[in-house]
Symmetry: C2
Subunit: 203 residues, 2 copies
């Protein structure tokens, strides 16, 4: 019984990952967890063959969860997932014993290939890689500016106010807004903010 545990605090990402992993040949069961605590709690009763876990999670972070998991079970195979470029977290996690990481921009095929390989070879370690985006259904990658603008929106600021805050013209803010709407598939700023929360891009 080959089972994989997917852990991500964002419901949207979690579901997308679950569905993607479920299509991997040989995988019979995919369970999900929303945070590190849940992973640890579940690990006692129900060990999966592979864990895919987001680096950045509220509460117990991904790195700390890796540490605790491996101290409890040195054989656990863990692959970290990362949305943004928080390579620090990834590096720490790999140093702590994670088998490697996948950028969330990885294609669905890439993800499946990686999971397949990790399941087939218990000693396998991932060579860092990243590919195109959106195919996997993972969180769209927003640029730093776009996230700043999205955060401004989530604080109720108008485009003009965001511009003043970031020393940009209102027109530039509007450009960033339009681009991030497109990436998120949002129809307006309220929708964008909601998707930002659901994807875990803002808090």
């Amino acid at each position: 019984m080959t089972s994989v545990l997917v852990c991500d605090d964002s419901p949207l990402a979690r579901e997308a990952l679950r569905r993607a992993v479920a299509t991997v040949p040989g995988v019979e069961r995919v369970t999900t967890a929303a945070n590190g605590e849940e992973v640890l709690r579940r690990w006692g009763a129900d060990r999966s063959d592979l864990i895919l876990m987001d680096v950045r999670m509220p509460g117990l972070g991904g790195v700390e969860t890796v540490r605790r998991l491996l101290s409890a079970d040195p054989g656990a195979r863990i692959i970290m997932l990362t949305v943004s470029e928080d390579l620090d977290g990834v590096a720490l996690a790999v140093a702590a014993g994670a088998r490697g990481y996948l950028h969330k921009d990885a294609s669905r095929a890439e993800l499946r290939a990686t999971v397949t390989q990790a399941l087939a070879d218990p000693t396998w370690r991932l060579a860092p890689r990243r590919l195109r985006s959106t195919e996997m259904g993972a969180a769209p990658t927003l640029t730093a500016r776009e996230i700043q603008v999205l955060e401004g929106m989530s604080h109720g600021r108008s485009n003009a106010e965001i511009g003043r805050e970031l020393f940009l013209s209102e027109d530039t803010v509007k450009t960033h807004a339009r681009r991030l709407f497109k990436k998120l598939g949002a129809s307006d700023r309220a929708h964008a903010v909601a998707l930002g929360f659901r994807w875990g891009l803002v808090r």
Copy 2:
């Protein structure tokens, strides 16, 4: 060492509660948890004298957490918190052994009085009550309609679309929107959606 554990999945509500409880005379320590799992995990090592817990939480719900907590420790004193009128949940929780409940509209004074009393008398059970709002810093109470409108916004619908969906005129939707903005302290719909997420009013 009198300590109280506050459990609510919404960060804003959690902080508001923590601060309110911390002002109660005799309370020396207030710890927080974001969900039922965390409460149970923490309970093993660190028992508080009183637990304030939201009824509605993701994952392990409040009611189920009460059950497990009491089966592990029949002496645990738990007061449920409820945002909306989900009296079903409250009734179940009280039936399961919670000492009573507080509506989140309770005033700060009300909350403090209740906590004081619950701490003073181990056998005490709360008589159901509810008071004015916003004093405690808890989530503003939105009406059913207002929440429906807010949800529509979070799905990227325009006022006109929301109106069509709910069989209301666009003007009526705008009225609900204006009222919920006022309650939440939101400057626009994007802000309202963000606050809705932070308060745990929408997902």
